[in-house]
């Protein structure tokens, strides 16, 4: 059976769904953050798949790869800031459990 665009899009959709489930079900802030990254990476797969299946002069549409480059950069910046916030939260609350972080101010 030949590989079609549907194969890649389905994998991407399922991976996104797994990440979504993780965000909704887990309580550890760090793991919720990891699942968020998983969703982002799943979206990246869609982008690359569409670029590969939409040829421009016999080459993939490379603009998608440039966009992906920016997404990866922004994700890295986001992880750095997010982890700093989690560390700051841990310093005041001594926990990374989202169910125990339920007050705006103590």
């Amino acid at each position: 059976m030949e590989l079609t665009l549907n194969h890649f899009l389905l994998v991407s959709g399922l991976l996104f769904a797994i990440g979504l489930a993780g965000v909704l079900v887990r309580r550890n802030l760090l793991i919720i953050f990891m699942c968020l990254e998983l969703m982002l990476a799943a979206a990246n797969l869609t982008l690359v798949a569409f670029s590969r299946f939409h040829l421009v002069e016999g080459q993939p549409a490379y603009d998608a790869h440039v966009l992906l480059f920016f997404i990866i950069t922004v994700a890295a910046a986001e992880v750095a800031v997010g982890l700093a916030i989690i560390v700051a939260l841990f310093r005041t609350k001594e926990t990374t459990d989202v169910t125990k972080v339920n007050t705006m101010k103590y």
Partner: protein, 168 residues
């Protein structure tokens, strides 16, 4: 080709499930690395060599090391068992099922989605993808590159401020 696709797709999906299922955060982080490796292999299968390499270097390398570093720094314990939270699981299950159904419906709608992998033209100018992406980055997209640089600077400053002992 098809076999490799299924192999790496399974790797990516099982790794993703590991992140959701593992109680121990360190195991979850390692499942995540596994998932990213599978995903990078899928990128390479789509002839996106530079992006696949970046995925391994930046995600599996830098970002996950940062996660593991923080997990070990904070000494996060495995989540303790709790009474089966029916409402949480029912809600999450409903949302995720609805999403998967939506994806399957959209994919079954036909259109261009059933296209088979088209062959690349090997004699096209600048056949290396790194070459083409570099040209685009520093040609057409020079302004976004500058803006991303500023974003990274802002993130660095933000992290330094957040990590200070006392916020003023």
């Amino acid at each position: 080709m098809t076999f490799l696709f299924y192999l790496f797709a399974a790797l990516a999906l099982l790794g993703g499930m590991g992140v959701v299922v593992c109680r121990n955060p360190v195991s979850a982080a390692f499942s995540m690395i596994l998932s990213f490796l599978g995903l990078a292999a899928l990128f390479i299968q789509l002839d996106a060599y530079l992006v696949g390499t970046l995925q391994i270097l930046v995600y599996a390398g830098a970002i996950m090391v940062l996660f593991l570093f923080i997990i070990m720094l904070l000494d996060v314990q495995a989540e303790e068992k709790r009474r089966f939270p029916l409402a949480t699981f029912a809600g999450a299950g409903a949302v995720v099922t609805a999403f998967v159904i939506l994806v399957v419906l959209v994919l079954n709608r036909g259109g261009t989605a059933g296209k088979v992998l088209p062959a690349l033209n090997p004699s096209a100018p600048g056949a290396s993808d790194t070459h083409r992406i570099g040209e685009l980055l520093f040609g057409t997209y020079w302004l976004p590159v500058q803006i991303v640089g500023v974003l990274l600077l802002a993130a660095t400053v933000g992290v330094v401020v957040l990590s200070k002992k006392e916020l003023k």
